[in-house]
């Protein structure tokens, strides 16, 4: 037994579009190697068309890999059809059976397995209680709201006690408030039942809220795999930094490399950035990133901070925070988010003010593209 609920080994999925000479191969998933740990809430995150849904469908068995092998609980799946795999799916548009009531929908998998009737009834009742739809068993799916249909779909999948539950953007069709509530509820249900969840979403906030692990995908590749805090604090490259949360990117050239870090020249100013594992040579162009909430605006640069000078271009008040858009001397714009708390060292600025944009050295990260 391995510690992975699902393992993908060198999995590639190619779709060919068009016909004959015009046919074009589209790589939805490229040579993917991925281990999804048992009992975790695992999220495949990425923009639309990045291959996350294809990955999910490969695990479910609705698509077959062009090459490579998928293991579920250590067993190879290439010869196993979807109906025999120990996985269940919650589909994007729920895919409830419109001709059956809620209880029959939930009992579908049990009926196929010929679980005795009384047993079915008990399990369905428990499942509907778990998703807080205890008295809705007799309703038809069309009589339920989107959020309720979502819960039925979840219950219908969970009653089969799958080793892995696959969820394909299940909250995509819900309004914002309901989505937020369901995110927390889904997370709680996952902790309660202890089943491995593989969750597909394009919403980075959703991914950060719920996941134990996130694999960020783009163009069929996994760009970074890690827990939410790692992805947010230590993005592996520019795409990750840009996709997850808001980031400022500042370009410069390498002036010197010391033990303290890399000194970058941004127009006429020098800043020091932790070198990390990025290998750069003197004179090379480089980009570093800082989150807007990790920057401050000051009239004078405090000690042990890094700073660049700029001019306040815009002040946007958004309740809890004020967002300053500052144009640096180099012409690049950065966003600085200042919390409207009662901290005494927060200075107020208005449009046109000359300011120092300051940050702590450890909050800046050198990136590769």
């Amino acid at each position: 037994m391995t510690d992975y609920a699902v393992e993908l080994c060198n999995v590639t999925k190619v779709f060919s579009s068009g016909r004959g000479a015009k046919s074009e191969d589209v790589y939805a998933v490229k040579e993917m190697n991925l281990g999804i740990p048992r009992g975790q809430f695992f999220t495949l995150l990425g923009p639309s068309g990045c291959g996350k849904t294809t990955t999910l469908r490969l695990i479910a068995g609705f698509e077959t890999p062009s090459s490579g092998e998928i293991f579920i609980q250590g067993k190879p799946m290439s010869k196993i059809p979807p109906n025999v795999r120990p996985v269940n799916t919650v589909f994007q548009n729920y895919a409830l059976f419109p001709h059956m009531n809620v209880a029959s929908n939930v009992a579908f998998g049990l009926a196929i397995k010929r679980v005795p009737r009384d047993e079915q009834k008990r399990i369905v009742k428990e499942a509907l209680e778990l998703v807080q739809l205890a008295d809705m068993g007799k309703r038809m799916p069309s009589q339920l709201s989107g959020g309720q249909q979502q819960r039925v779909a979840l219950a219908r999948a969970l009653v089969n006690k799958p080793a892995v539950l696959l969820l394909d953007e299940p909250l995509g069709a819900l309004d914002l408030k309901l989505r937020k509530a369901m995110q927390i509820e889904l997370k709680h249900i996952q902790e309660q039942v202890g089943i491995t969840f593989v969750y597909v979403t394009h919403d980075q906030e959703e991914a950060l809220t719920m996941s134990d692990f996130i694999a960020l995908m783009s163009d069929g590749l996994i760009l970074q795999l890690g827990d939410p805090a790692t992805l947010y604090k230590k993005p592996a490259n520019k795409f990750v930094a840009d996709f997850i949360g808001e980031s400022n990117f500042i370009r410069g050239t390498v002036d010197s490399i010391t033990r303290k870090g890399t000194k970058l020249r941004v127009l006429d100013e020098l800043v020091t950035v932790d070198a990390m594992e990025v290998n750069l040579a003197k004179g090379q162009a480089a980009t570093f990133t800082i989150r807007p909430e990790k920057m401050m605006l000051k009239t004078k640069q405090p000690v042990s901070t890094e700073a660049l000078s700029g001019t306040v271009q815009e002040v946007i008040y958004i309740g809890t925070d004020t967002r300053y858009i500052v144009t640096l001397q180099s012409g690049e714009s950065v966003v600085v988010r200042v919390q409207n708390g009662c901290s005494p060292d927060v200075e107020q600025f208005s449009k046109g003010d000359l300011v120092k944009v300051v940050w702590l050295p450890e909050d800046a990260r050198l990136l590769t593209d």
């Binding site: 609705f62 059809p81 269940n88 589909f91 409830l96 001709h99 799916p141 069309s142």
Partner: protein, 266 residues
């Protein structure tokens, strides 16, 4: 607001259509109750004797039996084949499926008289006896396109991940088909069956060539036109046929709509 003009081209067209289509039918029904062997005004008096004669006519009842049997059998087979064809066309990316569709739909455009003659020749060549069975076979062929079109239009509007969901929950492909696809399509299947039935039930041209001695109702009806005294009875028969067919068609259309609507909601 502009007034609706009574004599706009549209309403004149509609009026004309109603007169040409429904007036003859109305006349037919009126004369079927008229106490005279001649179909002329003024009406002579009310009678049900023509309907009574219908009921007593053994030959006619036998023809009705033949028609029901051929209609039931051919539409059942056409619906089954049409369902299989529709699933193949809609669900699978078959190579040459446009050719398949074109070939299946061909009976729609072939004149029935020509089809009847060619079947007569064919059946004689291969030694199929001219009979109700032969007519049933022919009716299967002309009914398939209708069944195919009705069922495939239902399948197109059917969220295709329902079958995936069923398989995901442990059903085999056939299990998913039987437990999910077929039940959801059942109004369309019934609509297809009933439409095929009315086509077979009303069909004269092909049946007249190949039905042999097992006359169907339309064939029998046409044969009775030679006897002037039986004309009112034929009219009564025609009235019955018309009403039954129309009722079945209206029910079919209603079914088709009922079957279509849940897909839009979900």
């Amino acid at each position: 607001m502009n007034k609706h003009k009574i004599f706009s081209p549209g309403s004149i067209y509609f009026l004309l259509m109603c007169v040409l289509l429904y007036l003859p039918i109305l006349l037919l029904i009126i004369f079927s109750f008229n106490d005279s062997t001649r179909l002329v005004f003024p009406l002579k008096g009310f009678t049900l004797q023509w309907y009574g004669k219908l009921y007593e006519n053994r030959e006619l009842l036998k023809a009705l039996g033949n028609s029901l049997m051929i209609g039931f059998g051919s539409s059942l087979i056409a619906t089954i084949l049409g369902t299989m064809g529709a699933i193949a066309i809609v669900r699978f990316k078959l190579p040459g499926r446009s050719v398949f569709l074109a070939v299946s739909a061909l009976p729609l455009v072939i004149p029935y008289v020509i089809f009847g003659v060619s079947l007569l020749i064919l059946f004689n060549e291969v030694g199929i006896r001219l009979s109700a069975f032969a007519a049933g076979l022919a009716h299967v062929i002309i009914s398939i396109p209708y069944a195919l079109l009705i069922i495939s239009s239902r399948l197109v509007g059917f969220p295709d991940n329902l079958e995936e969901a069923a398989m995901d929950l442990g059903a085999s492909y056939w299990g998913a088909l039987l437990k999910v696809t077929i039940p959801i399509c059942s109004p369309a299947l019934l609509a297809a069956f009933l439409l095929c039935f009315t086509i077979s039930f009303d069909e004269y041209a092909i049946a007249s060539f190949i039905v042999g001695t097992d006359a169907t109702l339309p064939v029998y009806l046409f044969s009775q036109l030679r006897f002037p005294t039986r004309l009112p009875m034929v009219v009564a028969l025609a009235a019955v046929l018309m009403i039954v067919t129309m009722a079945v068609m209206l029910f079919t259309e209603w079914l088709r709509r009922v079957g279509q609507s849940p897909a839009k909601k979900g």
